[in-house]
């Protein structure tokens, strides 16, 4: 008896320790990134990091503003391309297509969420870049190319989550609306999308997180010039690329500055995460 109880208590304790693994990893990552990244921000001043226009690590000039703008631009671009496509696919597959087509296409789209990001970058490099260069001008490696590639990459995420939240809308809503004489589209527009809104928003935020955090695909198509792009056809460098491009050879303060880049990225992602958590929690509550 006491032996069984002691064993059970021991097991419970072990599991509790294990259960803290995820939050501990999160804590350790946070601590390490901040420990490595913040001292140099204090040394040269937050303002210089956040708003400085020049990134010349060899001359101790660590302005991240172009990269922050770059990240936000390509993420916005990705949303402009990925969200309409993803949302439209989700609405079409749930409300307008026949069941068989949806049964084939949904897994297919989800399958593509698993394709490694480098493959997306490679396709962009081989086909999109030459196309932009020859038809629209500029070097091809650009904000536009990055946005398109990222937009395609977040498409499966947005579609899949939107499908799930549209399917979660009770059929009685649809029946009620149709019974009142609304067309299918009016039903979608006025009943289903509002009801599924917070789920869709959570999907978009997740897609946004994926876009802003993506590294390798962006490096391959962005051109990576550390300057604020003056058009969507100009090259761009994101926060993630800034880290990945220079990490291999950086040392000393240069390396610390890359960790500082990580800190800024981390904070942006955490804000997005929290928003996503709050919206999905609100959906659950409803």
């Amino acid at each position: 008896m006491t032996k069984i109880e002691r064993n059970e208590r021991l097991i419970r304790l072990c599991l509790l320790v294990v259960a803290f693994s995820a939050i501990s990893v999160l804590a350790v990552i946070t601590i390490f990134i901040f420990e490595q990244g913040t001292p140099i921000m204090f040394k040269y001043g937050f303002k210089n990091f956040l708003l400085g226009q020049d990134w010349y690590p060899s001359e101790k000039s660590f302005g991240l503003f172009p990269m922050i703008v770059g990240s936000l631009m390509v993420t916005l671009g990705a949303l402009i391309i990925g969200v309409p496509l993803g949302l439209a696919s989700a609405i079409f597959l749930t409300e307008f297509s026949n069941r068989r087509l949806a049964r084939i296409l949904k897994p297919f789209i989800e399958l593509l969420a698993g394709i490694p990001s480098v493959v997306y970058g490679f396709i962009g490099l081989m086909f999109l870049i030459p196309f932009i260069r020859e038809n629209l001008g500029g070097p091809g490696l650009s904000v536009l190319a990055s946005s398109i590639i990222l937009g395609v990459m977040i498409l499966p995420t947005v579609t899949s989550i939107a499908i799930d939240s549209i399917r979660a809308v009770p059929d009685s809503f649809r029946e009620g609306s149709i019974a009142l004489g609304a067309t299918k589209w009016q039903t979608v527009k006025m009943v289903i999308l509002p009801a599924a809104r917070s789920g869709i928003v959570a999907g978009v935020v997740l897609g946004m997180g994926r876009a802003i955090g993506e590294t390798m695909a962006v490096i391959m198509v962005a051109g990576n010039a550390a300057a604020i792009p003056d058009s969507i056809l100009a090259p761009v460098r994101t926060l993630t690329s800034n880290i990945a491009l220079e990490m291999a050879y950086a040392s000393g303060e240069h390396r610390q500055a890359l960790f500082a880049t990580g800190v800024i990225l981390f904070v942006i992602i955490m804000i997005l995460n929290t928003i996503a958590n709050l919206t999905s929690a609100r959906q659950k509550k409803r």
């Binding site: 396709i123 979608v188 490096i219």
Partner: protein
């Protein structure tokens, strides 16, 4: 006036269909290009020989081996932690502040970009713990990356086990742990495996987190502490440095096929699991 909503409906439907068509077309195009250019590169030689001359010649054997090692280490570490967390959350506690903190941690971890994991793994494993660029550092970093996936899928699978099974087990005189190991886990296994397979897919395809922790040495890994290049990293270097586009296509095809197989297995398992339950 009466015809207008129907026209609107027709237009909306066409636009939606067109957008869906574009989305699917783009995705089909990506698959088609990789397979069309990559499959002709594949041969037994390509799979069974090590890369030579920076990858211009030879095959990709060492990168396949490195990828497998990295994935195995990641799963060996992440599976017990993830499944253990899921068991604790579902079987050993009720919803309270602690479970909310644990779930919050897992969800945040899931949102952290892989480059951040790379930076972290580099500082902790490569530098502080002095594992160097190695299979071990890369595998541990990947383990942390896939941990949230395993927690979430396992938790869902365990929650789906009927409560009556637990009651029966307890009423027949089993302890909580016996109920977990003899009734709950066996019933939840397909769902847990789904999470593990998803994690395999992520580990195979990951580049940013691996390149700074496992390194990019092009030789066959001989120990946990060998620096080695995974398939995805190899593909990235081949493509970005323009070393050999044909070899890059070949590597991409292997990667994509591996991921497709992994995902198809997952999909099949989930379908069967859902059918089995209903």
């Amino acid at each position: 006036m009466r015809i207008k909503p129907r026209i609107e409906q027709k237009i909306a439907q066409s636009v939606l269909m067109f957008f869906t068509f574009i989305a699917v077309l783009v995705l089909v195009f990506i698959l088609a290009v990789i397979l069309k250019n990559g499959l002709p590169q594949l041969s037994l030689e390509f799979l069974s020989r090590n890369p030579a001359d920076m990858g211009r010649e030879g095959g990709i054997l060492s990168t396949i081996v490195a990828t497998i090692y990295l994935t195995i280490i990641a799963l060996l570490v992440a599976t017990p932690l993830g499944v253990g967390t899921a068991i604790y959350l579902t079987e050993y506690t009720v919803e309270n502040r602690i479970t909310r903190i644990i779930r919050f941690g897992a969800e945040c971890l899931a949102g952290i970009p892989s480059i951040i994991f790379g930076l972290f793994g580099f500082i902790l494993f490569v530098n502080r713990l002095k594992f160097g660029w190695s299979i071990l550092s890369g595998g541990l970093t990947l383990a942390f990356m896939v941990l949230p996936t395993i927690i979430r899928t396992s938790e869902e699978a365990i929650k789906a086990v009927p409560a009556s099974y637990r009651l029966v087990s307890f009423s027949l005189g089993s302890t909580r742990w016996q109920t977990v190991t003899k009734v709950v886990l066996p019933s939840a296994i397909p769902g847990i495996i789904t999470g593990i397979i998803l994690s395999i897919g992520r580990s195979i395809g990951e580049t940013a987190a691996v390149i700074f922790t496992a390194g990019s040495a092009l030789r066959m890994p001989t120990s946990l502490f060998s620096s080695s290049r995974s398939m995805a990293v190899h593909f990235y270097i081949l493509a970005r440095e323009g070393i050999s586009m044909s070899k890059a296509y070949g590597t991409a095809a292997v990667l994509v096929i591996a991921i497709l197989i992994v995902n198809l297995i997952t999909y099949y398992l989930m379908e069967r699991y859902i059918k089995h339950r209903s």
